[in-house]
């Protein structure tokens, strides 16, 4: 019974959203506002159950019930977090800079070593590897061509992102080649995404035709 009501409700909401394709209309506005409300509500529930309870409440509770006093450390972040309430009192609004500064500091600190390793070192290594294979004689001529093209692509795209030199002469020429690679890259990524997006539509159509209308 509840499942049937659910399917009907889901189908109607699905159609409400699809109606946006025609133009803005009361059905879309209905779904849109409901969606915003529900998603905020869901966000609050998720934050409480997956953020505050396991990371703040549980350690504090354990501190008192099981004498794991280390859990009391959590009082510090709770107090820092509570500074966000300062925003509600205009005179002390600047206090929210404290938690923001900490969040930004942590984010930046984590980014430095990880980006250096995962992105820069890995990508440079990835560009060099095929040349080791060329030396070892593992690649056929077509693959060697691919490796050289890759090298040209990486270097020219990188040149396109030079900002402190004017793009004239050699630099200008190489950065033009970079644009060529960028455009081919973007085109292929676009084309490759079509499949994923159509899959999503197929799934919605399948829901409407099979689960709701039982046509297939």
């Amino acid at each position: 019974m509840w499942e049937l009501i659910g399917i009907w409700l889901a189908a109607l909401l699905t159609l409400c959203i699809f109606s946006f394709l025609y133009r803005d209309n009361p059905f879309y506005r209905f779904a849109e506002h409901l969606f915003v409300g529900v998603s905020v509500g869901y966000g609050i529930v998720l934050t409480v159950h997956q953020g505050l309870i396991p990371f703040a409440w549980n350690p504090l509770r354990d501190a008192f019930t099981q004498q794991q006093w280390i859990g009391l450390v959590k009082i510090i972040p709770i107090c820092i977090g509570a500074l966000f309430f300062a925003r509600l009192f205009p005179a002390h609004g600047w206090l929210i800079r404290y938690p923001i500064a900490i969040l930004i500091g942590v984010g930046s600190g984590l980014a430095i070593p990880n980006v250096m390793r995962a992105d820069i070192f890995e990508q440079v290594l990835g560009t060099l590897t095929p040349f080791a294979q060329i030396h070892a004689g593992e690649l056929d001529p077509f693959q060697i061509f691919g490796a050289i093209l890759m090298l040209l692509g990486v270097i020219s795209t990188l040149t396109y992102f030079f900002f402190s030199v004017e793009h004239r002469g050699v630099v200008g020429g190489v950065s033009k080649i970079g644009i060529v690679f960028l455009m081919i890259g973007f085109g292929s990524a676009f084309g490759n995404t079509v499949m994923g997006r159509v899959s999503l539509l197929i799934q919605r159509v399948d829901f409407l035709l099979a689960d709701w209308l039982h046509l297939i």
Partner: protein, 271 residues
Amino acid sequence: MIEKLMNIDRRIVFILVGLAVIIPSLLSVSFPITVSQPTRSTYDYIESLPTGSTLMIGFNYGPSSLAELHPMAEAVIHHCFQQKVRVIGMTLLPDGATLGDDMLRKVADETGAIYGEDYVYLGFRPGATQVLLGMGTAIDSVFEADYAKTPLAEIPMMADITNYEQIDLVLDLASGSSTEWWIVYTNTRYNQQIAAGVTGVIVSQMYPYLQTKQLIGLMPGLLGAAEYEKLIGRPAKGTEGMSIQSFAHLLVVGLVILGNIAFFIQRRQAE
């Protein structure tokens, strides 16, 4: 006329897209599928496993990517049960927990596989990388019990499985960066063989790993599912979906070509 064609109302395009998906869905037409090498290697690997081997599947996708990855999961699990390869399911995403459970149970019902002997579902544990590292020492150090809260010690299938050493292949079904975690934490560290099935959008990110053989196989989105279905000779949602895909792709290609013809005629006229 040409002017009109150039600036066609987008709603006409929308209707065409809708029809290109709805009509083939109703008619259920199908096209032959060519199997790509990365999908074939995954299949071959599982095909070559002796009876009683173990495959671990990570259901690392949420409801929004279900359309692409569920069919793939279905095909691979079918293949495993046919081959008498045992399956351990798990997930690193809270959203994936119910999806994996549903899928394993569905295929088990169809094939008659028995829970606890042919497959086990461990569910979700938070802390992705810690979970992956923890299973390297002992699976029950992370999952002391399965999804239904039965202790692993009481599950017959888990008696001879302690850690990655007894797992012949990990298949990660991913809509995010979980495959990279598997590669960094289990392939590099424990030398675990890994294959992946990922959504169409992140496929190209995975090619470098295939090149370096950190992945033994790779299945791209719905197409991967269709290819796998062809290999095991059991067409299902993937094959059906790909045929619909063909129409949608032809439509988009046709529209782009049409737009360009109109554009060239217009330019010729202007000259």
